[in-house]
């Protein structure tokens, strides 16, 4: 059979070519979930610096103020917001609520996500 759970078929999950909005939402939800899981791991590694004393943690915090880290943090926020909002959409449509409007609801929620990210970005890069 061609539909074995093989690694190559798994990677095809992430192929957006020739697919439509519902599928892009499907891909985006998986990418953001993997991103958040990776972040959790990095977060735990960062926190483990605490066990090496105040100096080690303070130097890590100083490094985290680097703009590259801030972009990374914004990506984490993006993943959380997109995954959360898309998750609400999936939870509702999965039980027949607004199923027929899944495309429109995805586009509307992603517009909301952009606004939220714009707000966060402003605070993080230009705020006090």
């Amino acid at each position: 059979m061609s539909n074995h759970p093989t690694p190559s078929n798994f990677w095809r999950w992430f192929d957006p070519r020739n697919r439509q909005i519902g599928y892009w939402a499907f891909i985006l939800n998986r990418i953001t979930a993997l991103g958040l899981t990776l972040y959790l791991l990095l977060h735990l590694i960062a926190l483990s610096q605490l066990s090496q004393g105040a100096a080690a943690f303070n130097s890590f915090i100083a490094m985290a103020k680097n703009p590259v880290f801030k972009v990374g943090e914004l990506l984490v926020i993006a993943a959380g917001v997109i995954h959360g909002l898309n998750g609400i959409r999936i939870a509702l449509t999965s039980f027949g609520i607004g199923t027929r409007y899944q495309k429109q609801s995805f586009l509307a929620l992603m517009a909301v996500a952009l606004l939220i990210l714009f707000w966060f970005g402003q605070i993080m890069f230009f705020g006090e």
Binding site: S2, W13, S94, T99
Partner: protein, 243 residues
Amino acid sequence: MNVEKWKVTFVVSRQKNQEPRLYQSFQLEIDPDEYVLDGVERIWAFHDRSLTYRHACHHSTCGACGMLVNGVEKLTCITSIRSVTHNGGTLKVEPLRNFAVVSDLVVDMSNFYTHLEAAQFGQVASLAQAALPHDADTRSVTDGEFERLVDCIECGLCVSACPSALTSETYYGPAVLAAAQQAFNQSKNSALIHFADQHDGAWGCHSAYECSAVCPSNVDPAWRIMDLRKKTLAYRIKQLFRK
């Protein structure tokens, strides 16, 4: 009458006896208002008699000619060449995904048909039950005594487009679950709820909605799967209070 002709390169997937897939190109001069299936038939008739493909009715009723056309699931008998390529362009024709390839463009759909039977797929339904509830009511007769063929033509395009079916051999797939939903609406047979209420059933859907996007026949399998989930949940809650 002067018929417009396009030069189109058909790139056709060839695979025999489980050997690795190869792609063979055929140059055709063809009327762009003909259908992709016409091009495939022309290749078979004038270029290579060993090419195998499925077809029957040529008017989107039998569901036999589903293929991937430039990467998208299409019923090739109603997909005009004009709609998928351009003059001088290429047109890639491959077998449906998520089914084993028997030969060239022919896939093994026996499991699919077995599952459809298990879902008590009915070929006909009353005029009201054959339609989706959100369809505009175009019935000229509304007394419920008349039946018509249901919309699903068993083409398998939805299975080919489904990411859940891509990584699971046992997932029933959109058409089968849509059939179970429709059969349950007609019979209220709780066995169909038990059929759907499993990991390989309605809960195996990952909500990508690609099945409804490619369905050529207004079945809207994604909507029916979600409706089936709702009905399954309602049934389970009722069972809790009966105990």
